[in-house]
Amino acid sequence: MADYKPLQFHVPEPTGRPGDEPDFTDVDIPSAGSAPRPDIDVDPNDIKDLARTMIRVMDKEGNAVGPWAEDIPEDVLMHGLKSMVRTRAFDERMMTLQRQGKTSFYMKCTGEEAIAIAFQQALSKGDMHFPTYRQQGILLAQDYPVVDMINQILSNAKDPLKGRQLPILYSVRDYGFFTVSGNLGTQFVQAVGWAMASAIKGDTKIAAAWIGDGSTAESDFHAALVNASVYKPPVVLNVVNNQWAISSFQGIAGGNSATFAERAHGYGIPSLRVDGNDYLAVYAVSRWAIERARRGHGPTLIEWVTYRVAPHSTSDDPSKYRPKEESSAWPLGDPILRLKNHMIKHGLWSEERHAQAETEFDEEVRAATKEAESHGTMGSGASPKEMFECVFKEMPPHLREQRQKMGV
């Protein structure tokens, strides 16, 4: 075996580290309108190319072009844009709240707003999201009371989750928002199970599963895809590829070897790769996949290509592991700016209204924050009694004894 050279170990590296210039030359960006739009009952084998391209609708000038360009009702666009602005205002305010020491923890979705919001707008009442921690847009797009979100974040006396759960891991059943887990990936297969149940019952509800690029490496991603492949339940499997996990880039999840959309091919599940910062594309593709599921054609996986502009969480400092200017160099731009331009171009919006909306939402969130703070911050106001409730439906004797011991 003398002629074999020593093997080499291969550890993928991102294109840039702190001090380097951002480098996105690897990110292929096909022109808007270039990707075909198949029928919803298409054979997954016939659209494999859609997992390697990027479905884009909005061109540089803000026009909607190509087969995925839909005639989106004005009120949908308007609500979409406003919800994005509102979400960003919310994120900013919560960040401040955390810096003020009023909550322990927060996570922003800056730059990714279009995905959760447009997807939610394509969904129907009765459907269920199985979100991660970066889909606050789902709640904001439904006008779930902002003050209740903040109450949860503050773990205060009005926290709907009674102080039991970490900030931002909301649970809002009536808004189709499944309780967010702190454990990555687990929700993906649960979504498949929920969708299986809908099919078992002969209902028409669909599930939307959410996962990040980094978390696709978790084993439950596979469990989800295997079950989706076998039982073909009505589920949309959303992978939000925002390029980064915490400090590790998408190559550490295998993203340099194939796209995340391509993962679906080994399971016979159709998949689409989409410009996640293009609101129009997100809305159109979401509708396509949701319709496909609801018409009984089974699961779809969608990779939403985007960029995590914010730090991973308030505990994180991205300047430690990626080029400083990377987020502004991201070639797919800002989803809010892009939709705004599109709407201004089409006479639906203006710079003034935009500025006004920003102020309005900032004020709304400020007011809500103030109200929420009046019920306590950083866990104050939550009752120790609640600690013992909801472990089981009925409190078993040993917990009753412990509660007594504690004197509450």
Binding site: L169, S171, N183, T186, Q190, V192, G193, H222, A223, V226
Partner: protein
């Protein structure tokens, strides 16, 4: 009353609940067409259709994970993990998800599901077909842990488990499927037809989760046990003539501490007997509680007789298994000590 072995009783429980409640679904590896490697779901797919009884991919995390999703939808999944030794891949979904769903969502979402799984050794199954991992679940807040020892309880408690609004891990000692095995592996096997607990009522009845069963009254010593070891204890009582009060715990969490304390206060001695390894086994919890609650009544320390702290060996199965000889010797020693 019909005679059933434990397999039939378990099947009957699912049958009763599936007939009563459309939301009950049953799945797991080989449980569909074939009816399970231990035949516990035999005939159910034919009766209720593949919509409600089906095979699952070989992915235990997926079995529990999909069941959690279904339970959140409103179904009542009763799933099978083929051997308790294969429950570990599903451990995260059980611990971090099913067990915590109610708490973290403040009861917006719950996990009313049952994980049935055959446990225990004595079938020459080696380290991967013999384990008794019950203590790994009793430490987890939010799941109930049940382990049955006879057909009557098996049916009644499985019905309770399916009706329970919280997740239940339901252990079935596989060595008891066909008869009340007492550890005398060299003697002819008994079957359930000769045992009163092999009489199993038709239709719906429940045995509550959280109540122990005093299977044999006595005044010398209390034996706290469950699963296969119940019969070892009974045999040892008979063979040694020691008047032991034998308590089949059945439900480990919640635990029927009142029954335990009453008995130990009466007898003044307590043996804990299980097949799982000693260290951090459920016997540790029992010993800890008994010494705390019955301290001034105990004549001798609480004694644990258990499997050794080794993996379950293949050839040395009967050396590992806490059989009548070991239990008898320990019991005598306890009685002889001051």
């Amino acid at each position: 009353m019909p005679q059933m072995n434990m397999i039939e009783a378990i099947r009957d429980a699912m049958d009763v609940k599936m007939a009563e409640d459309d939301n009950v679904v049953v799945f797991g590896e080989d449980v569909g067409y074939f009816g399970g490697v231990f035949r516990c779901t035999h005939g159910l797919q034919e009766k209720y259709g593949a919509n409600r009884v089906f095979d699952s991919p070989i992915n235990e995390s997926g079995i529990v994970g999909t069941a959690i999703g279904m339970a959140a939808y409103g179904l009542r999944p009763c799933v099978e993990i083929q051997f308790a030794d294969y429950i570990y891949p599903a451990y995260d979904q059980i611990v971090s998800e099913a067990a915590r769903m109610r708490y973290r969502s403040s009861a917006e979402f719950t996990s009313p599901l049952v994980v049935r799984t055959p446990c225990g050794g004595g079938i020459f199954g080696g380290q991967t077909h013999s384990q008794s991992p019950e203590a790994l679940f009793t430490h987890i807040s939010g799941v109930k842990t049940v382990i049955v020892s006879n057909p009557y309880d098996a049916k009644g408690m499985l019905i309770s488990a399916i009706e329970d609004d919280d997740p239940v891990i339901f252990f079935e000692p596989k060595r008891l499927y066909n008869g009340p095995f007492d550890g005398h592996h060299d003697r002819p096997a008994k079957n359930w037809s000769a045992h009163p607990r092999g009489d199993v009522p038709e239709g719906h009845y429940t045995v509550p989760i959280g109540k122990a069963d005093v299977v044999s009254e006595g005044s010398d010593v209390t034996i706290l046990t469950y699963g296969t070891m119940v019969y070892v204890a009974e045999t040892v009582k008979e063979e040694t003539g020691i008047d032991a009060e034998i308590i089949d715990l059945r439900s480990l969490l919640p635990l029927d501490i009142d029954t335990i304390v009453a008995s130990v206060k009466k007898t003044g001695r307590c043996m804990v007997l299980h097949e799982a390894t000693l260290t951090s086994g459920f016997g540790a919890e029992l010993a800890a509680q008994v010494q705390e609650r019955c301290f001034y009544n105990l004549e001798v320390p609480v004694e644990r007789v258990t499997g050794w702290d080794t993996p379950y060996p293949h050839a040395q199965e009967w050396d590992y298994f806490p059989g009548p000889a070991r239990v008898g010797a320990a019991l005598k020693e306890m009685m002889e000590a001051v």
